[in-house]
């Protein structure tokens, strides 16, 4: 698997979430994802960026255009140094929230992409990786 393009954006405030969405949209268009797939990617990016901001106290987003044989895809990695997630299973359940949201962010984003993984350590931070293949 090779990385063709990589960009790192800060996720420190509400406006960064907007910029993160725009970057993902731009790359999804370059990769010629269908409109529905673009929308899913941008929506997942929005949820995960907001998650990093609201629960992880801010962090960063790394987006990569990746190629695996004949397949290309978009990989998004959201990292924060926040409190971490104590129970990943609960965090992925629809309706589970420790903040004031609807609790759809993580579980919902997982449904919008093909590959989804969470690495987290309580007190250290969280890294969420989401990939959608073309």
């Amino acid at each position: 698997m090779s990385v063709q393009k990589r960009e790192v954006l800060p996720v420190k405030n509400s406006n960064d979430v907007v910029l993160a969405r725009q970057k993902v949209r731009q790359l999804a268009v370059e990769l010629r994802f269908s409109l529905v797939d673009q929308t899913k990617l941008v929506t997942a990016a929005s949820e995960l960026a907001r998650n990093a901001l609201d629960h992880g106290k801010g962090g960063s987003m790394t987006v990569e255009v990746i190629v695996n044989g004949a397949r290309s895809g978009l990989k998004m990695v959201f990292e924060d140094q926040g409190p971490g997630i104590a129970n990943i299973e609960d965090a992925l359940k629809d309706g589970f929230t420790t903040g004031n949201g609807m609790g759809l962010g993580l579980g919902g984003s997982k449904r919008l992409v093909n590959d989804f993984s969470i690495e987290t350590e309580v007190g250290k931070g969280t890294r969420i990786t989401a990939v959608r293949w073309k």
Partner: protein, 128 residues
């Protein structure tokens, strides 16, 4: 300051969301809509989201909040113009905007609101 305009059309309020939403703008809009309903006695709120390229849970929650607050103040809300790709994504995300009425276009939304008020008064007459 950046602000989403709230237009008055007879007894309705028309709001067209065209910008990328962020927290402050959403809170400002909730304030503006509730104030206008209270000032003008509006009975309906039309929110046009046809220019929105995504609706995430944040925007979905804002729409549901506005609909709820307006209802408490006596105004019905209809969200109009959602793009098909947005609808597909929103449902997959797990949000079906329950409690928020929707219509395909501003015209259809107006019909729903006006039709509603007419039916409403007829019901009252029948009951009386």
């Amino acid at each position: 300051m950046e602000r989403i305009p709230v237009l008055r059309m007879g007894s309705l309020l028309l709001i067209t969301i065209q910008v990328d939403m962020h927290d402050k703008l959403a809170l400002q809009l909730q304030d503006d809509v509730t104030e206008r309903i209270s000032d003008w006695g509006s009975t309906g709120v039309l929110i046009d989201i046809s220019s929105l390229e995504i609706v995430d849970s944040f925007i979905g929650r804002m729409l549901a909040n506005i609909a709820g607050m307006s209802r408490v103040l006596g105004a019905e809300t209809v969200v109009v113009g959602m793009q098909p790709a947005v609808a597909i994504t929103l449902v997959e995300l797990g949000m079906s905007l329950t409690g928020v009425r929707t219509a395909l276009s501003v015209e259809a939304g107006m019909e729903l609101l006006y039709g509603n008020s007419i039916t409403g008064s007829e019901d009252e007459r029948t009951e009386a």
